[in-house]
């Protein structure tokens, strides 16, 4: 599947006086699975909406293979943004039925795979005649996943696909995603709050914080830059001198700090009387975006 490069440059977006995205640059390369993570209100859905021309921007540009995405049918044909469905729409219940979503997707997505959609429908035990407002949160996520996967769009974006799904279904979703990726090599962007579970699926991770991109890098590479250092506070301070300290947690004289950078120095510090432990993606995210809230 030939996906192109999706690129945002200098994106700014505000709602009334509140600036949601600040001069944001982002490049989505083809054939990769991206994880988009950020705290509530960080601007994830707004960013995805602007990337797919479903939301407006104040300034900046979004291009796909060098051509603007806005009102460009060729670009829009290659992009599927499967949104998190809501039980209420425009202050009333969402009375659209599952079959309406399927019919619409069949009309709009040029590569729509109806056989696959029906197989997933069967597997997820979804009833096409049911209204969205009658579905559970997990079932709504299944519709989101079904549309995204069956769209076969070269760039497929899922907004909170795991919300409300039980652990078995979440595992099944990651499995389906990887199977599809292995088969089609299309680009996926998955926005999620369930970070640790999804971390192994993400080839690259984009961390969005307060409307700014903090990281857009290889997941393993990013995690490799972070360590927890713990021990007696004066020893920890000595070891961490010159390193970027992201968060500190102290109990009595025992101190734990999250640090970033200079792995050589950290390896050398193993000689000192401190424990050095790796961090997982969720810890990295909390260290970068926690702003002290998690301590």
């Amino acid at each position: 599947m030939n996906a192109g490069i999706l690129k945002a440059e200098g994106l700014c977006k505000s709602y009334k006086d509140k600036e949601v995205l600040h001069n944001l640059d982002l490049t989505i390369e083809p054939g990769k699975i991206y994880g988009l993570i950020g705290r509530n209100g960080a601007g994830k859905t707004t960013l995805l909406g602007i990337l797919t021309a479903q939301n407006t921007k104040n300034s900046g540009s979004v291009t796909y293979n060098g051509q603007p995405v806005w009102e460009n049918q060729r670009a829009l044909n290659d992009i599927c943004f499967s949104r998190e469905l809501q039980a209420t729409l425009f202050s009333g219940p969402n009375n659209l039925k599952v079959k309406h979503y399927l019919k619409s997707a069949a009309i709009y997505y040029p590569n729509w795979d109806m056989d696959y959609a029906l197989r997933l429908l069967d597997e997820f035990k979804l009833e096409t005649k049911k209204k969205i407002s009658q579905l559970s949160k997990g079932q709504m996520s299944m519709v989101t996943i079904l549309i995204a996967l069956a769209s076969r769009a070269p760039i497929t974006i899922l907004d909170e696909p795991a919300a409300g799904l039980d652990v078995v279904m979440r595992e099944r979703f990651y499995q389906l995603l990887l199977e599809d990726f292995a088969q089609t090599n299309r680009t996926f962007i998955v926005s999620t709050h369930i970070i640790e579970e999804a971390a192994s699926v993400f080839e690259r991770v984009i961390i969005l914080d307060e409307g700014r991109i903090l990281e857009n890098t290889d997941t393993e590479e990013l995690i490799g830059q972070f360590r927890y250092v713990s021990g007696r506070d004066d020893v920890v301070d000595q070891v961490c001198n010159g390193l970027q300290v992201l968060s500190t947690h102290q109990m009595g004289r025992h101190k734990t700090v999250a640090v970033r950078g200079d792995m050589a120095k950290l390896e050398a510090a193993r000689e000192a009387d401190v424990d050095i432990a790796p961090m997982n993606l969720q810890n990295v995210f909390v260290s970068l975006c926690g702003h002290g809230d998690a301590q």
Partner: protein
Amino acid sequence: MVKSFRFLLSYSWVNLGAVFGFAAIVIVGCYITGVPGNPNVGNLFETYYAMFPTMILLCLFLYAFAMCTNNLNLGLSMGARRRDFFWAIQGNMAFYAVVCWGLQLFMSAFPALANWEIRDKWALLDLFDGRVWVFPLVCMVLMVLGCLSGLVLVKSKILGTILVTISIFVMIFVSAFMILSADTGVMNYLVETEWGWLWTTLPRIMIAVLSAGAVGGEFLIWKVVQRYVVR
């Protein structure tokens, strides 16, 4: 644009089916309850038959409302271009207007065709008989208003509710005015007063106002669709 038109058309068939079904129920109901040829029978079916054009307009208002809320949102979320969707809305509204115009003409002609005698007690069925193109114009205006009401409601719940309420009140007021004027013959009295010129030129004034309203409404719909944020 073809995709968006096809998308909207999939809903139009169902919606028009409901209007045709309603027409069939009214006709069959009138027949079963002995309305034709019996001036003493006055029932719900007779009332709905006599009011059929206003029922069509009310349905079209609601269909256009849905077209510019749920359908617009769904279409754009699946990658429709805004300008395509706007023109698909126009095509769909024209389709609705033409089909409903045909249905209205059929309903007004049916009693004569079937040799029925049904009282057109509020003179609504043949209201557009003199200027047959007025009915599709009214249909278009109502749909523009319905679409606009939906778009405003999406942007502001309060403003949208006010607009929908006003629209419904205007429709009820106009229907009631037409019914009352037909029942009481007040128009015959009014044309003889010094304001008589106003009443005789009222249809032309209304057509001009409706046409201007439709054009202005379309401009607003274009503007709002261009800035629409998918939810």
